[in-house]
Symmetry: C2
Subunit: 368 residues, 2 copies
């Protein structure tokens, strides 16, 4: 089955909407949050557990898989889905963000980026063509065009250079991409300059991508500035195409993104803070590894019905984390992903009922 | 329900037998292998997963739980079963073995042992009375008497001293133990001296324990010497009481123990080697983290039907382990525990059919 997006419902009080992403590995309701499986595994979890907490579409990282175990190996294994035993849809990023995060370890030219592996220091070259070759080998349902991500803050001059190169690279990606069924999304850059965002969006929309990502945000800028960028970018995107806000996953930002018309999100936040012993609750974050929970025999979140909250206490989970036991971070990861995915479920239901703004306000009142 | 052991079947070709351990948390078939949950968790696994691979009776460590999170905390939590969400039977060791493993960090007197915590260096005192107090608070189904474990090799003189002190300590344990339903097993010492083993067994049998452990073995002596000790000790133990060989868990030793009349075993070996990337197969150990498995798309053990072998390849599991991903050691742990517990299942079936010796010989032919 080819990739297709359909809109089921447009909210009248906000830009929020309900949709369906049809992919070769099944259909996914939007708005959707994608758990991140950087190295072909959502850290600490089995695919069945990811599904159980509500994960339907996962993200995996081209840069990491290219370095280890290598994309040819995954192709030999029958593709990423089979390699990692996940039958649902997968989105792969292009490696751009990771490569640019390497800082002094990389060098950009018009042709592409030369960088050194964070694992063994070996030298590699990534280009739009290479990013497509790797993602076609991985066989993801949605591939991302190779982009350059500007840091924050960023001069207007450099932001312009980055967005123009990203647009040229996007065209090169489309020119070489030929995997049937796999969609390629373009990535909008432009830092925090509204007119540059507009220019970036315009250039990409001309190429008629099946979906558009808003990149270069959630890189250190104030949240209000991120929301402003959404407000000026989303209206110029074609209504019938999915919009993906990259790297966003804190509960407040998810809701603020949804009401501004975002359909897709990904972020390591819920799983990363889980491994540090921090969990999400309706009353905000709770650092369960703190001493005050040593004799607290309540669940992580008394209002939650995830596996961790049904069977274990804060005292036990704290003990496991202090003792370095893997089950501790398994339980906090399950809880945090369940929390975020349940939030998305509730948000969808609120959109359906025309009360998404009220839902957001109520949630933020207790959460922030 | 009180503790009780019943024998269902005595093999005619060997000392092997089938039995049932009745405990307050359910009945368990013997011979049984106990997965080890040192810190109130079988490393990397949920209780449901332990049950799924065939675990029915688990062992937890008094020494570790006493130090962290503390036995009063576990008592407040409602006991160890509730704290760790395991409804089945639990055996707790006495802390003796761990304390004696501390070497220069401990000092033995007739009263007990002074030792320093391996976690923070704090000083503690353990005695037969303390070991009982802690295990009664934990609420295990089977508690172990506080013993001293002689190292190997060990002079006859010191072995005698150790066994005599262990016998006196066993009497003190019984004198203070008063938790209804919880059984206390005595531990036989005597190093590798047949007459000392006899003397130790005799002294403990006089106290009429509901079960007897054979301690001080699997501490570095040749396997043949361990088998000889079983052969001289088991015949003097009352037939109607369960016999527990402590710290034994390699597949060959399990089968050799079973044919010599052992009913219970525990060992960290299957779970520990799993975390190093080594798995058990019918053809012996396989180090899946080795480079030769990088492109091996077969399951860990093609003859195995565990969760790991049904869904994942050696190549994928090797990738996870090399990348430091938790799912890798979860899968090898599931496989290894399933392997050992399935071996016990097959052994029980072989005893029932009167072909346990043949089963052992066939297994060892391909395994060793």
């Amino acid at each position: 089955m080819a990739f297709r997006f359909s809109i089921l419902h447009q909210d009248q009080t906000s830009c929020a909407r309900l949709g369906l992403l049809h992919t070769p590995h099944g259909t996914v309701e939007t708005p959707v949050f994608m758990p991140v499986g950087t190295q072909a595994t959502v850290k600490t979890m089995t695919p069945e557990e990811v599904y159980e907490v509500g994960g339907r579409l996962i993200l995996s990282n081209t840069y990491h898989l290219y370095l280890r175990p290598g994309f040819e190996l995954i192709r030999e294994a029958g593709g990423l889905h089979r390699f990692m035993h996940w039958d649902g849809p997968i989105l792969t990023d292009s490696g751009g963000f990771q490569v640019f995060s390497l800082g002094p370890l990389r060098k950009v030219t018009e042709e592409g980026v030369t960088f050194r592996s964070h694992i063994d220091g070996s030298e590699h070259f990534f280009s739009p063509e290479k990013a497509m070759e790797v993602q076609m080998a991985l066989g993801s349902d949605i591939a991302m065009a190779f982009d350059e991500c500007a840091p924050y803050p960023c001069s207007r001059e450099y932001a312009l250079e980055v967005l123009e190169r990203t647009t040229r690279w996007a065209r090169r990606c489309l020119a070489v991409h030929n995997r049937a069924g796999q969609a390629v999304f373009g990535i909008i850059q432009g830092s925090t300059y509204p007119d540059l965002r507009l220019e970036s969006a315009k250039g990409l929309v001309e190429m008629d991508f099946p979906g558009y990502a808003i990149g270069g945000l959630s890189v250190g800028e104030p949240k209000d500035l991120m929301y402003q960028m959404l407000e000026c970018t989303i209206p110029v995107l074609p209504e019938e195409k999915p919009r993906y806000l990259m790297g966003v996953g804190s509960p407040d930002c998810l809701l603020e993104g949804i009401v501004r018309g975002v359909d897709m999100f990904d972020c390591v936040l819920p799983t990363r803070i889980a491994r540090n012993g921090t969990v999400l609750t309706r009353q905000g974050k709770l650092v369960v590894r703190n001493a005050e929970y040593a004799r607290d025999f309540k669940p992580l979140d008394p209002e939650c019905d995830c596996y961790a909250c049904r069977h274990y206490t804060r005292a036990y989970i704290r003990h496991l984390i202090k003792a370095g036991e893997v089950l501790g971070i398994r339980l906090t990861t399950i809880h945090n992903l369940h929390f975020v995915l349940n939030l998305m479920k509730e948000a969808k239901s609120a959109i359906r009922q025309g009360r998404i703004l009220e839902y957001r306000d109520n949630f933020l009142k207790s959460y922030l």
